[in-house]
Symmetry: C4
Subunit: 249 residues, 4 copies
Amino acid sequence: MTATKTITHTRLRELVLANHILALEGVLDAYGHVSVRNPNDPTSFLMSRSRSPEIVSEDDILVHDFSGNVDGIAAKELYRERFIHAAIFAARPAVQAVIHSHADDVLPFSISTLPFQAVFHGASQVGAAPAPVWDIRHDFGDTNLLVENMAQGESLSRAMDDRTIVLMRGHGFAAAGATLINLLKMVTAIPRNARVILDVLHAGETIVPLSAGEVAIRDTTDMTTPAAQRQWEFWCRRLGVTFEPGGYL
Amino acid sequence: MTATKTITHTRLRELVLANHILALEGVLDAYGHVSVRNPNDPTSFLMSRSRSPEIVSEDDILVHDFSGNVDGIAAKELYRERFIHAAIFAARPAVQAVIHSHADDVLPFSISTLPFQAVFHGASQVGAAPAPVWDIRHDFGDTNLLVENMAQGESLSRAMDDRTIVLMRGHGFAAAGATLINLLKMVTAIPRNARVILDVLHAGETIVPLSAGEVAIRDTTDMTTPAAQRQWEFWCRRLGVTFEPGGYL
Amino acid sequence: MTATKTITHTRLRELVLANHILALEGVLDAYGHVSVRNPNDPTSFLMSRSRSPEIVSEDDILVHDFSGNVDGIAAKELYRERFIHAAIFAARPAVQAVIHSHADDVLPFSISTLPFQAVFHGASQVGAAPAPVWDIRHDFGDTNLLVENMAQGESLSRAMDDRTIVLMRGHGFAAAGATLINLLKMVTAIPRNARVILDVLHAGETIVPLSAGEVAIRDTTDMTTPAAQRQWEFWCRRLGVTFEPGGYL
Amino acid sequence: MTATKTITHTRLRELVLANHILALEGVLDAYGHVSVRNPNDPTSFLMSRSRSPEIVSEDDILVHDFSGNVDGIAAKELYRERFIHAAIFAARPAVQAVIHSHADDVLPFSISTLPFQAVFHGASQVGAAPAPVWDIRHDFGDTNLLVENMAQGESLSRAMDDRTIVLMRGHGFAAAGATLINLLKMVTAIPRNARVILDVLHAGETIVPLSAGEVAIRDTTDMTTPAAQRQWEFWCRRLGVTFEPGGYL
């Protein structure tokens, strides 16, 4: 029995749904993971035990502390790279959701000087300036490229600084959101943003990114309106689960 | 109860089917929208309330006026960017159908000087000369890039001029058709047209677009023949709905 | 009642299956068509009436003469571009099967000087030298780009000469096979062959095509062996139809 | 009755599952094949008779000797290119699993000087230095490009040397793994690794491959842990077969 038993069903359901959405959209496959800060204790976070995101159920969600440990559960049951989440949540109190992904379309930007920055409105959270690239080799020399301890997680978090995304050389990326839905919107747009940039650069052309001013504009729509809930309804439909109008962040 | 109750079932069914086709073909996803001029009152148009196109049903179709309002319905129930449709229908009496899409393959042309023009017969409606690109920043400075009022819709419509398509920088495109089926044929060909251009330009080669003369030739086929209805039958089959021979525009 | 009633069930079933395979593999969509020479009368050919290939059934197959006519059937019931098939069958007695396709990946080669030639063993029938490109504008000026009469079909066939494939500028391609299975094998490899060439040329590199000697080598495998029938079994499985071992050309 | 009757059900089930996974992931289609060294007799190997991988069942698995023969079975029942497997198993005692694939994304590297080397952690087994390319024409002149006898298989194996992968000009690749799961992990990452390299090179940029030190680091995770079994669970789910926790290599 874990501490998640005291967390409202709505919050758990959203995290499970987020796992399934990210698999559906191809942002996660057998690997990668998504987490949210614990609404009952902001010094911990919620994430599945080591299962593929599209298979995760509410029973898999565990409360992780900021060292990446789960009370009463052996390390081998957990995601090996949970330290990414622990380090980012610890360093940045305003972050409510974190993801680690190996989405293919982002990888080219991690092994070259190609700039990854927002070029269409759906990806505005990526930011106007090119995202930082963290190379694990810089601090840790030759490794298997995985983030397997807190020192590596903290190094990554420092490279990320106050950005929403940090690329990981030859590996993938980590991203953080002010809310879970913000994170979902950003990361499902990230592969598309990558392909648009590549399609321009492959032609030897120059991209026009969003401006700093455009990126700074925050959407003030009431998130309970039909217009805002529409994205959830779309995902529920594609996943074959019942949509509960107004029942999502 | 809305004014759509007086509109023939065939017209409503076609608009709903168009929504589903555009989702099936990947032209629309959770966002974007398609509309037709109101056959009962050409100073208004029919479009869904704010729902994802693949989920739209006949009950969702509402009569919008040329200010983007719907009698008796709160704005929050409507598409935020309905002003795109209102402005184009108001400015161009010959237009019977309008779409706004964020299809990925067109985006590269909106953030660069890559020319978007018809290169194969299926996309001839796109036109022989490169499509105009509208940059919301030119008239409105930094925004969230969405078309959220009539002034922005009218600015877009002016940039579109008498063309069938206008690209929207960092956002997507709007397109207009002389009939709904014309619009469907054009916009399902648009992503393909984009990829063909990109595949040539990525190789550092020059494209041979359709000529102005080729684009000007209008198809005079009887639209009730099997050859013309075949496209509808194909889409009905893929959507799993019953095809009614001869029952489509 | 048509003359196809005297044609063996096996031959009709193969042509219907070929239609479905070509839709499954994305070589044909709502448009495009495939035909075989009439085994009972080599001065005619079998092809569906105007239906989308994935929907074609045995009842749709009609005997077409070399003017593109079908006895007792109005022209509007037939494919508009049936003249492609009529002209190629008339000009080339050794051809047993013909296809017309608009597959996207081949289109870039039709609107540029990019060379389309065989670069992997599965596409060897394409030939070692670049395929000819036919531009309808050369003989017929501005048109809707469709092949709508025998003069246009014959012009295309002359440009094709003795090759297995001819590209059609801004439109697609026509291809011919010594047998139906040969044609299927070639045309399902054609989009793949296109992408491989593009992936090399996009990097500014030079392709190594198959040699003339490699292309000239004919496969002498017994087509009734399991190794040869395996492709049919694969396609039947994917189409959800029962495979009849040894029952295919 | 074949010698496979004495092989444990688990080993046979894994090989069948590997066939289905490789079809699911698009590494194999109607053609290509995967094999494992015979656990009961390391001088032979297990592979299906000539069937498409997604259709292979346990009854299809046959014991092949290092000349590519199967006791009591006619050659026409077997994969034509089984000599690839025979030659590699014979030359390299440490290899436990072999695959031959025509995956499209790798083909560009086989017909050009584009370098195929590991650029992300999931493909580390590919190696830090560019993979060798074997051109059958060098030793055998013009052929149909297939590996149809032991001399050709041995030539390929020599070109492969001690690498995990060898590209085959205009044809595909062969790869070898220290275990079946190692091979599966590598080859499902290979098309992704190819696309990442191409996306960088298409932009005229230079790739940063994994270092020799990174490639040399071996994963020492206990393969029976949930973290390691997770990949199998993912594949079982996608294939619709029951996952047996801990029941896979």
